[in-house]
Amino acid sequence: MRAVLLIVQKELGAYFKSMLGYLVFAVLLFVDGLLFHGLALGGADKLSATVLTQFFNFTSGVTMIAAILISMRLFAEERRDGTLVLLYTAPLTDWQIIIGKWLSAWTYLTLFLALTAYMPLLVMVNGTVNFGQLLSGYLGLWLLGAAVTAIGTFASSLTRSQLLAGAVSGAIVTTLVLSWQLSARVDPPFDVLFSFLALHNKHFLPFMKGSIHVRDIVYYLSVTFLSLLLTRQVLAARRWT
């Protein structure tokens, strides 16, 4: 655990020692704020619960983009700079390296999510916020973020180009999001399969409305674990080939 925390600490330091770390934060918060102002607060008067639902809906999109941007550097940058050898030749298991890397990205994303909290708090000024919905929505964002950073970690292990890693994880995430659309256009039993795979509509929508289902939690944890397992396979394969 000590080694994992050491990697997390080092990676978080890398995010905040570069301008890019702050820039990602600033741009994403700006975009999220604009969407909040335009989509959630704009238009006719709404119930606070509706505003909150809309906030979680677009923030889930921003969270996915943030998770891809944050995670694309994890392994790709180390491979490009030739520093992966430090981790590979240290007395660490592949799992320690992977968990450390992914956890750092997820922690950074958690900070981003914490900074978005001012928007639901603003709703409290003129309305009544249901704390159950608030907690449920943030739990959903947190789990969605865990899954997408894990997918990004996997994509980052495939290449030394951060841009390519971002494109690969973007493609995987888009495919999983769009599988919801696909489920409506295919015959059984594939409709059930594609519906189950849907990263957003099937599993996130209940969270933003205040419903927490075990199946959705299990889904996000499964995507996270599977992605990290694939990352482990990539790292192990690199030692053999």
């Binding site: 000590r2 080694a3 050491l6 990697i7 080092k10 330091g13 890398a14 020692k17 570069s18 700079d81 030739g82 520093t83 992966l84 050898v85 430090l86 981790l87 590979y88 030749t89 240290a90 007395p91 660490l92 298991t93 030692r239 053999w240 080939t241």
Partner: protein, 250 residues
Amino acid sequence: MIEVEGLTKYYGRVRAVSDLTFSIPKGETVGFLGLNGAGKSTALKVLAGFLLPTAGSVRIEGHDVVADPLRVRSRIGFLPERPPLYDEMTARDFLSYVGRLRGMGRAKVELRMKTVMERTGIADHADRLIETLSLGYRKRLGIAQAIIHEPNLVILDEPWSGLDPLQRRHMRTLLSGLRGEHTVLIASHNLPEVRETCGQLLVLREGQLVAQGTEDELVAQLGDDASRIDAPNILEAVFLHLVGPREVAA
């Protein structure tokens, strides 16, 4: 200390190292020689635990690199040709990070860091960002990270590459200082430096070991030709005799 038996490594269908067998006793400084593509770096990466062998076995202090990788890696310090450094860190923070990554406690790292920085001559640059260091200092810092955890085996790939004559001299002194305390394995094309630094030599050709021994033992393989070669060029002649076209050596 190091026992390598039948080590073979393929990259896809390309055989980089073929049936390599040798052993190195504790405390030796050994030079790994060979032309580009001879398999030196690949063999070193397997010894360092960075890569796993396709076939054969590598044992470091009795521990197998495949069966017991963490124990092996805790005993090894590795410096690849391009020093693996995090530019955004200071030299001090970097060494602290690497030391702790290799299982050292914070207090022990602090203590050891002082010794290592003085020994490698980077103490005056300890608080500078790594991105501002010259190649010479980057190489020194690379050596410092390789020895911070007091490994028994230090593996260095091309430690002299890219250094100017003064930096090469500093590096030679630094590497000579490692002798005795660590077993040191150095892969290099720089024959004069290898000659000065290493007691034993291993010569690779197309992934296979073609000679092993001291310089004198390798010179003896030249036979009568040895007497016709100037002393400063003798290692080069032996090297070319072993790995290159024979007419060049003659």
